[in-house]
Symmetry: D2
Subunit: 477 residues, 4 copies
């Protein structure tokens, strides 16, 4: 309420109480002031009360909430369902304009403010988590893959003759498809565990960019960004980094910071949901050159959903920088706990924890014994874990072939044509709890024992495959 | 509650009342059954109670809501803010998988069901609103422009040699940028009011597609889709239709249906927010060939936000097909009302309603008199309307130049290099009310009178431009 | 946001848009200002957006939402469940203080304001609906019965020697129990249809009060308040009116206004849920003497739930006075529609609509024919209607006996020992729709036909009661 | 969804995923089953997801949510504002019926179930927190004071000749007013610190009951319930215990259990908000004789708000018994922390912590020094703490007189006519945090220093009271 209304309230309820109420309101305003002034994630998290007050304030600034507005356009932010209006806090106009997803909307000052502040707060978090020299970023309501595509499309305008992307292989469909969709002829590097090999004789101008990766499934480890970035600088080749869930790891962020310091990184892209515990569907495109990042944001034709921006803003305001840091350090601790537990379990079953000290998030345990027993046993383990509500534990068999958009990958999922053993992945990602680890280890142990028993029975009595009743292999993907 | 729990409840509250309660529950289930069975928009809208019950049911089927789940993956649908969880009804996993935005997610049966049902319900609505022979469609969490880009990128894989898009000019940035972003060399047709001219000597295989438009600002009218589609069929050229806000008009939908019947339309794209009164950020990509539509959906690399799907599903379930039809017929009535009112107002001010009988949504009124008086008066009118909370009334001056991505448009906003007069647009879009029209006409009348007075004063007394204090011209864009 | 924050916002989003946003905010503030200034129900309803903004503003004024508060008391408004906090808009402190339910709370300026404003808005509505001269009222979070008890308890302090209440009989348990609970020896008047009989020889000081009724089930009609009030004035006897659902009827309100004008009414009590379409559990105690109403409010020992106040305030702000009046006039129209339909139905089944022109809400249709056929048929009709989801259609058999708190009523439910026929009640209460009436008439018709058929079959073939399979008689109570 | 709908879903999304979803749903149902079967607070808390699913299930069982219902009664659970409907989870019918607040409602099976289950869960918690032998209880939507009144009114029907209540004095208005409102002539015992004195010569039948207290402000301590209960048994006098915020203290609960074991306790009443961290406005009336508790519940005339029941049910389901126990043990720990901190602070300022080992919640620190300096200093301290957002720290001056309902209390607030020193109260109530204590001590320290300085200045320089500018004394009440 404004001061006039507070004064009127003093006639109804006693002056001293209203004044205290008005002073209390000011402390919320003070938090908002800091945010507007500094554009940074507050150190301490806000209460839900402050957050909702702030969102209400933003909403009343949008024309669809003007009490006297009359709309005769084709896009007026009208909403027919009150369930829908409410869940978006009546912020209906989305973000951006035809020309630029980061642009201000005349009809929606509140949504525009939301958009600008979110980008600013997210930039601050990227700095705090390790990429100190990042200059610009924006949230885009597309997942990591499509966001990478947008970067490649932007580069294509800069380098119309380029035909190749240099890509240290990583076996995740969306990484590969991000390039395919952008319509480039792709050069795939068959690198085992991120070995770097370069083909300078192609001619630098025929190369669209290097597309490297930080966060990934073990046993793969992050690419050696310093070396890649140095080469990119040397040969004048753009460099796009897929940092999908790397914000949560100081190691991944450090790689990017170092890469940019010693060499060239044009943009790095990270997922909102994987790093900030929000719903799937948003990413951050960030970089060290304001002009290039703006060029990407101008490449997105038309307005866009404000939903991912809203989610990440609410989340960061409620956590505060300190709350987010706390989550990250918990994640790190649990990573070591998970490694320890997996190691013990592996040795109890005659397996081993694969040695991947450079992967700060994902771990892998060999499944040699299982493989030895039966071809199907490895995939069956995947089904069993799925059925027992262990989610995210990926089972990788030997020598799988997979064709994506016409290209055939050998040894798919293991990032290599010649990986020597099947294995199981488990990751310590932000938000994981000790309880998750304990339950996972317990159930995994049980599954392995059951499988072993079944296999023994099957061997001794019958030639029929024991896994025939469970064929939900795809469940583990 | 299941039958066991109902039986237990009978011990606590009397049998006959619990039975009636259980029977009442069945009537909600019955509605859900119809939806699952037929995949169509229900004829009558659902109550909020049924909708929320249904969404809760979907949510409990997603692994992030499993009571006994343990997650050791990098993407587990964890949410840190309860505000965020709640506003998404705890549906966190988004839609699609790495390979395909329409694919089913093993971790999220509920979200997958949501995705499939939304696409199915939306398909039904496209049929009911006029495109009877549509075969397939999907909701994509990107606005119309980016969705068109996705279509063009898909076509580029099919037609790697194509360099041109044939595009009857329409002056909306995102339409143009949708092509630019896809990285094509564009051929622009300078057609006044959708005249069609074809360049067969280019060679059909060098043409990526024809990119036509239905809904648009008057005085432009929808393209002659039948003729375009016939030519496309004849020359074997793909045809993508921008049907941005055309679902709300039976005329636009009829054009598409006819085009597909007599010729070739590969895909037509429409905005969710403009047609279904939901927040900005989603579109529907639809077509007549299942395989091609799937190809597009597979072109989107990675998962995507479920937010636009959720919004449109809630909205259509709450309206029902009959409720939506009612909204559309109200829109049509108000279109005639708006035309009548604008015509009267125009004649009172010595202007005229431009003759655009083929544009079923947008109207235009000349501003010749204003232009005659002063160059700045036309743009000043825009500012004045903005300040007076008339949103969406677009003022189009004469001969504006605009450069977008390196291409310069003459006479920008009027779809023509040589449009003879400045004008003002007003549209009757879905959700508009009679009150909107009345207020708009009243305020417009007042603005015109004020401007006239100011101009007269200015002329008689001083050479200084009267509009200097209001330079928010961009506000009208 | 305060002006400082708006200024800061101008640096982020352009000045003109922020100014328009800030101006839009002022229009919400303006509505709040009117409410604070005048304490009246706004003529036009508020949008949900304004209402929620206002409630947020109130909440931040309560100490449990102070950002820097530390609490070391035994009642600090702490809430453990965020579901609970949210549903109360974080207004946790309730209303009133130990000494007075209408008092201001130092810890909760916002809740205090809510309480005061609600009482003030409700008072305005009582005036507008017909009791022009009402002087004071307050909302109490107890249903009508318990609120009447509170009035009687207050009178007992004023009239310690009083032993009797004069009560024109009305057969609703809670009316009777309201007196029993207050611990008075009650004198029951066996009046058919509100005949008034007075016992002046008891001595006025032995009479606690007259307890009269306006709204009631037909065929009973409202008491003749003018005559009762005149006698009360003459003999100096307090007069409490049970106006349970009478606010919705101008006739009931007029009776009270007239009674107070010509005679004496000390307080009149009405239900929140029945008159204002809010959840069960609140009432308004109103009167013409500020001191007496305050005495009642001080009789409530301790704080109380703010929930009913919040509900009625939200409802009245969202309807506005005009919206509420519209609801009331619709109710009146449907009353005549219901009367017409019932009359036709009755005559088609050889029954009649009972002649009760003075009852403005409830109607009754005779069930003589049914009674003639079988004793059980009348109650069976009740069960059948219950099963067919016709709620609120009360079936009243002949000569039912009921003992409440030791007192036996003959002909219970018919307000009379000697009512001549069984009947069925239906009412047109606020919020009823034409569809309700149509469905009710259709189902009632079907039930009567089915019953008739069953009875004929039973008569012709077997002596066994046909109603044995349906014994949910209590369902109709 | 029912099994039919799950089967239909399998056609849309793959069988194995739907089955897992359906199985996940069953785990929610399982929790509900346990609740229905055992009527006890679950050991582990439920997720918000389960709670909301359950509340939705209850709501669809109420007739106002029946899809085919037609209502022709005067109370149909219609709600006009969707904000209101939503915040009550569409449970509109309240609890109870005309005759009994614990009765089942035919129109509202869901609300009836809610009511029964809440009472049952709350009973379980009373047992677990120490009153093992409690037999029956119910939640009533009135605060403690009015609930005590209801008990007294019930007793009056049993003991029509009784004129006295024996009441060990406790200086809280609502305790006193609870008796006044019930209309009894009260005998007040001026007992210092709960000394018990009995007047057997009054005649037991003239005594309505003994009204004792457990939880209270220090330096008062809980009454000696064992002795009182024994005397009540001996003389056949009913005994009502005000256990306002005693559920949170095992000591208070133990006193009640012991009292009932060795003597007579008819009912004990406790606040919902103070013990369960829900909004103000509900209480639990409990006892050891089912018939008497039912008699009280039947004394409440009419339906009642379900809001407090809903709040406490949500809260207890979300905490679980273990979560609630954890809160209580934290409270206990902080009690000792607060005592330690207050003691240190007191000695630093030349004051002392009053010796009240039997009060398990509230503490008191003397203010002798302050009093010695100035009469006003003590009340000024109260104002200062209020202004500095220390809430709940009660300052009790010497020899205050207060008249309530005609009775004058000397030494009001100190429970005694002759308490020797002024003091300040602070309590460790459920939900308090270490941070609350730290802030309170810090601010209190600062206030005392400031006061001391001001007093010294005032003494040395001027006779004018320095406190004149702060006179919000009532703020501390």
């Amino acid at each position: 309420m404004n001061s006039e209304n507070f004064t009127l309230s003093e006639r109804i309820v006693s002056t001293s109480y209203i004044r205290q109420g008005s002073q209390a309101r000011r402390s919320h305003e003070q938090l908002i002031r800091h945010l507007l002034e500094q554009g940074k994630c507050p150190e301490e998290g806000w209460s839900e009360s402050t957050i909702e007050l702030f969102l209400h304030e933003l909403a009343v600034m949008d024309s669809n909430n003007f009490l006297g507005n009359c709309g005769v356009g084709e896009r007026e932010g009208r909403v027919v369902s009150s369930l829908v209006a409410r869940r978006h806090y009546r912020l209906i106009h989305g973000i951006g304009r035809s020309g630029d997803i980061a642009a201000i909307q005349p009809k929606a000052a509140g949504s525009s403010l939301l958009n600008k502040l979110t980008n600013s707060v997210v930039l601050d978090i990227l700095k705090r988590t390790g990429v100190r020299s990042v200059v610009s970023c924006f949230v885009v309501p597309m997942a990591t893959g499509m966001s990478l595509t947008l970067c490649f499309l932007t580069l294509r305008h800069r380098r119309p003759k380029a035909q190749y992307i240099i890509w240290p292989r990583i076996d995740q469909k969306s990484c590969f498809k991000a390039m395919i969709t952008a319509g480039n002829i792709t050069l795939i590097f068959h690198c085992l565990l991120s070995d770097l090999c370069f083909e300078p004789d192609l001619g630098a101008e025929s190369i669209l960019c290097v597309h490297s990766t930080t966060s990934c499934f073990a046993p793969r480890v992050p690419d050696r960004l310093e070396e890649l970035a140095s080469l990119c600088a040397k040969y004048n080749i753009p460099h796009i980094v897929n940092n999908a869930y790397g914000v949560q790891s100081s190691k991944c962020m450090h790689l990017i910071e170092q890469g940019a310091r010693v060499g060239r990184i044009d943009a790095f892209v990270q997922s909102l949901d994987k790093n900030f515990m929000v719903p799937v569907g948003g990413a951050i495109i960030a970089g060290f050159d304001e002009a290039f990042i703006q060029e990407i944001s101008k490449m997105y034709p038309g307005r866009a959903s404000a939903s991912p921006s809203l989610d990440v803003l609410i989340t960061l305001l409620s956590l505060g920088a300190s709350g987010y840091k706390k989550l990250l350090s918990e994640r790190k601790e649990i990573y070591f706990f998970l490694a320890q537990e997996l190691k013990s379990l592996a040795s109890a079953h005659g397996e081993r924890l694969l040695h991947t000290p450079h992967n700060p998030i994902s771990l892998a345990m060999s499944l040699d014994g299982l493989q030895a027993d039966s071809d199907k046993a490895v995939t069956q383990l995947g089904s069993m874990l799925f059925t027992r509500q262990v989610s995210g534990a990926r089972v990788v068999p030997l020598g799988k072939e997979q064709t994506i958009s016409g290209h055939t990958f050998h040894g798919f999922m293991s990032h290599s044509e010649i990986y020597p053993c099947p294995y199981l992945n488990a990751a310590s990602a932000v938000g994981i709890t000790q309880e998750d680890v304990r339950l996972c280890i317990k159930r995994l142990d049980k599954c392995l024992k059951t499988l072993r028993k079944e296999l023994n029975v099957a061997k001794s009595s019958s030639p029929v495959s024991p896994s025939s009743q469970e064929d939900e292999n795809d469940a583990t993907k």
